[in-house]
């Protein structure tokens, strides 16, 4: 709420409006817009974001105050034993604890980066002035969204990712198109490229990456590090509790219980599926297990995910390659937004829907959408997969014309 979901989506909306007005208004028949006269006021966009975030935060405090069973403590928590937590001058005694500590950007391990100075997604949401140039290290969720955002704001953006594609875990075909779209908008994208060191001279920052044997140099005013997140556990005093980590994340079982029998952990800190909606799903389950001693287990079979670029990339379940690697006989159905009348009307014809099914049973195994409002469209697949639905639910049900979900239906029918 403060440095992720809503703030980035708010600023991405500013980026979208800027792009529409500056690059596309003429195409839609709008006259009198002089692209060279248009500028972007980042401080104003940040102020809009802050107002929106404050409204949500105020609502959270109201709900907390209304709940008489909750006492809120503002401060750093530190375990002094498995059942005692110090916060400021108070020692909280609790037989049971739920850790909802979240994650933070992984520390900079690239030589010279710390000395040269860099920002993370947190600072990138509150800059008072637009940097003329920005190098983003990491081409996953955070890197890709900020690359498009800052490029559309007017910064010269260089995006560097180690993997051979942006959004490394997603369907290669969709990631490839998203990468090309970013390039077409002016993002200088370098995949299969690893940053080996960073230098700072005369106020300029130079990032030195390598692609194969070729060393490159990119200069910019600012560097944004977006290369992974780790559990936020420093100074929690976990050594007093028996709670163990597995690498950078907390160890938790299917009931969200940590290696300490009276402590549960939820959300990003547990690694995998590091999305807000997963934490929101985990929370009540951990509460039921802790308070009522239930043995409720989490079910991560169907966890959707999205990157909120334009077009957005959203997916759920297995990619085609993952399904084949799992030994399944797979069928794939595809449909392209360029054949959709509604997508044409919107002027958003890039991208496609790719559905992956079990060839024997027709059960949906995965859905992958790159296109307008993919983050919304994916939920038809989510609902079908949750019920272990077959492709017929999408292929045979009546879809409103003209709408974008018709593209999903076309992909499902292509499987028939």
């Amino acid at each position: 709420m403060n440095e992720g979901c809503v703030p980035t989506k708010t600023l991405l909306r500013s980026a979208e409006v800027m792009h529409l007005v500056k690059a596309r208004a003429f195409e839609f028949g709008v006259r009198g817009v002089e692209p060279s006269a248009i500028s972007f006021d980042l401080a104003a966009a940040v102020a809009r974001k802050d107002t929106i975030v404050k409204g949500v935060i105020d609502g959270i405090y109201v709900a907390l105050r209304r709940n008489k069973n909750i006492t809120f403590y503002a401060g750093r928590a530190e375990f002094t034993s498995a059942v005692e937590i110090r916060v400021n001058e108070v020692v909280i005694q609790a037989d049971k604890t739920i850790l909802a500590v979240g994650a933070q950007p992984a520390p900079a391990e690239i030589p010279g980066l710390k000395e040269a100075g860099y920002i993370t997604n947190y600072e990138a949401l509150s800059l008072g002035k637009l940097p003329a140039s920005l190098i983003i290290i990491g081409a996953g969720y955070v890197g890709v969204e900020f690359a498009q955002m800052y490029s559309r704001f007017g910064a010269k953006v260089t995006l560097i990712g180690r993997s051979s594609q942006v959004m490394p875990k997603e369907e290669p075909e969709l990631s490839e198109i998203l990468g090309e779209i970013l390039r077409a908008e002016g993002v200088d994208l370098h995949t299969s490229t690893e940053v080996i060191r960073v230098e700072r001279q005369n106020g300029r920052r130079t990032v030195i990456p390598r692609r194969g044997d070729t060393e490159m140099r990119f200069e910019a005013e600012a560097i944004l590090l977006a290369a992974g997140r780790i559990a936020r556990v420093d100074s929690l005093g976990l050594d007093q509790t028996g709670v163990e980590l597995d690498g950078f994340y907390l160890k938790a079982d299917e009931q969200l219980r940590t290696t300490a029998s009276n402590i549960w952990s939820i959300g990003d800190a547990n690694g995998d599926h590091m999305f807000t909606h997963r934490a929101t799903y985990d929370g009540p389950i951990a509460a039921l297990n802790a308070v009522r001693n239930l043995d409720k287990t989490v079910d991560y079979r169907v966890v959707p995910r999205a990157v909120f670029t334009e077009p957005a990339l959203a997916s759920v379940g297995l990619t085609e390659a993952q399904a084949r690697d799992a030994g399944l006989e797979v069928k794939v159905g595809k449909a392209y937004f360029k054949h959709s009348g509604r997508a044409k009307a919107l002027g958003q014809i890039e991208g496609l829907v790719k559905l992956v099914t079990d060839a024997k049973t027709n059960e949906l195994l995965g859905g992958h959408i790159l296109g307008p409002h993919a983050d919304i469209l994916i939920h038809e697949v989510v609902a079908a997969m949750y019920n272990r639905g077959t492709i017929e639910a999408i292929a045979k049900s009546i879809h409103i014309h003209p709408t974008l979900p018709e593209v999903l239906k076309s992909a499902a029918k292509a499987l028939g």
Partner: protein
């Protein structure tokens, strides 16, 4: 100063908040602790 609770929830983000509210609604006395701003990332 010592305060006794049935459950402590460390972190008032989008996971900690529903956990705390669910526990409280089940009747537990809950201490919710946050070192940054509520609402999480």
């Amino acid at each position: 100063m010592n305060e006794k609770y049935d459950l402590a929830v460390i972190g008032a983000g989008q996971g900690g908040l529903p956990a705390a509210h669910m526990a409280a609604n089940l009747g537990a006395k809950v201490a919710l602790i946050e070192m940054r701003e509520v609402g999480g990332t």
